[in-house]
């Protein structure tokens, strides 16, 4: 019984450490002068539906309503910072709190998806786009499903 309790506490501790490590990563990027950071809070997301929520075959409102925040980290033409971001993204693969969902390679562009899922709903979804000379990380946090992400762009307009 004591052993079981110890195991549970250890796992919890590791999980918290994982989350803490993630926040540390993004804090590191946010504090870097060569990284452009855009942080969109729930308050601004709530305003989004009133300002051109739909454009063409898009439905941003459905996903935006379920998000708590969006973080966008971008670095262009600074090789050191780009390398740092690439290294950190590889470290993300080792992180057990995030599952690697998919990787897409198209011409010179590498796209990776990492997700933190609970009961078929995403709490955290990260997309990294590595184009060699620029790296973009988009992180969305909230309570949404895979269909919510898919339905942002209707099938007819995907290429």
């Amino acid at each position: 019984m004591r052993k079981n309790i110890l195991y549970i506490i250890s796992f919890l501790f590791l999980g918290i450490q994982g989350l803490y490590a993630q926040n540390k990563l993004f804090d590191k990027l946010a504090n870097n002068d060569n990284v452009t950071v855009v942080y969109i809070s729930k308050a601004l997301l709530d305003m989004m539906p009133n300002l051109e929520a739909t454009a063409g075959n898009t439905d941003l409102k459905k996903l935006a309503n379920k998000l708590e925040q969006i973080e966008i980290y971008t670095c262009d033409d600074d090789s050191k910072t780009i390398k740092l971001m690439q290294t950190e993204m590889k470290a993300l693969l080792q992180d057990k709190s995030y599952a690697s969902l998919m990787s897409i390679k198209e011409k010179n562009q590498f796209v990776n998806f990492f997700g933190n899922k609970q009961n078929d709903r995403y709490k955290d979804l990260i997309m990294t786009v590595d184009e060699g000379k620029s790296v973009t990380i988009i992180r969305i946090k909230g309570n949404f499903t895979s269909d919510d992400v898919k339905d942002v762009i209707k099938k007819t307009s995907t290429k």
Binding site: M47, L51, A55, V129, I140, I153
Partner: protein
């Protein structure tokens, strides 16, 4: 003759109001007869009507009844006026309440519109960035899922082809 003169005198005195009760009774009795001299036929109807009027009795409580009717009419008029006043009073209250409720709602709408209009350019830019980010994310997500679907189809076809080959080589 004596009776005829007497009757004429009596009629004159009657119209002057100088007859006593006895004389009035005599006149009443005379004109109530059917066979009276022709000279008095014309006056008979008038005298009969006058004497009939004298027969109408005035109820003793008439004055009381009149008073109570006048009072009730006065009360009705008063109540009608009060009702009219109350009706206007309630309409005024309803109008005030309507204005009191609708004005804040109207100004609240204007305030909300103003708030939206007052979003800074920086926030507008952030929202546009967020929109672009979500579009990019969804586009790549869908691309990945499409590739996954295509891969699954390719895998299924390959499995079918392999199975066919196995069946042919091992009949």
């Amino acid at each position: 003759m004596k009776n005829t003169v007497n009757i004429k005198e009596l009629i004159t005195l009657y119209f002057e109001g100088k007859t006593n009760t006895q004389q009035e009774s005599f006149l009443k009795e005379f004109f109530s007869q059917e066979n009276i001299p022709e000279a008095y036929k014309k006056e008979q109807l008038l005298m009969q009507a006058l004497f009939q009027k004298d027969d109408i009795s005035i109820p003793t409580d008439l004055e009381q009844k009149l008073h109570s009717t006048i009072n009730s009419l006065a009360l009705q008029e008063k109540q009608h006026k009060l009702f009219a006043f109350n009706k206007w009073k309630w309409m005024a209250v309803a109008a005030i309440l309507t204005i009191a409720i609708s004005l804040p709602l109207y100004f609240n709408q204007i305030t909300q519109h103003d708030e939206t209009a007052q979003i800074s350019q920086v926030d507008k830019n952030k929202i546009q960035e967020a929109q672009k980010a979500l579009l990019l994310l969804s586009k790549n997500y869908n691309k990945g899922l499409e590739q996954l679907t295509m891969s699954q189809e390719t895998l299924s076809e390959s499995t079918r082809a392999l199975n066919k080959h196995l069946i042919i080589s091992n009949p």
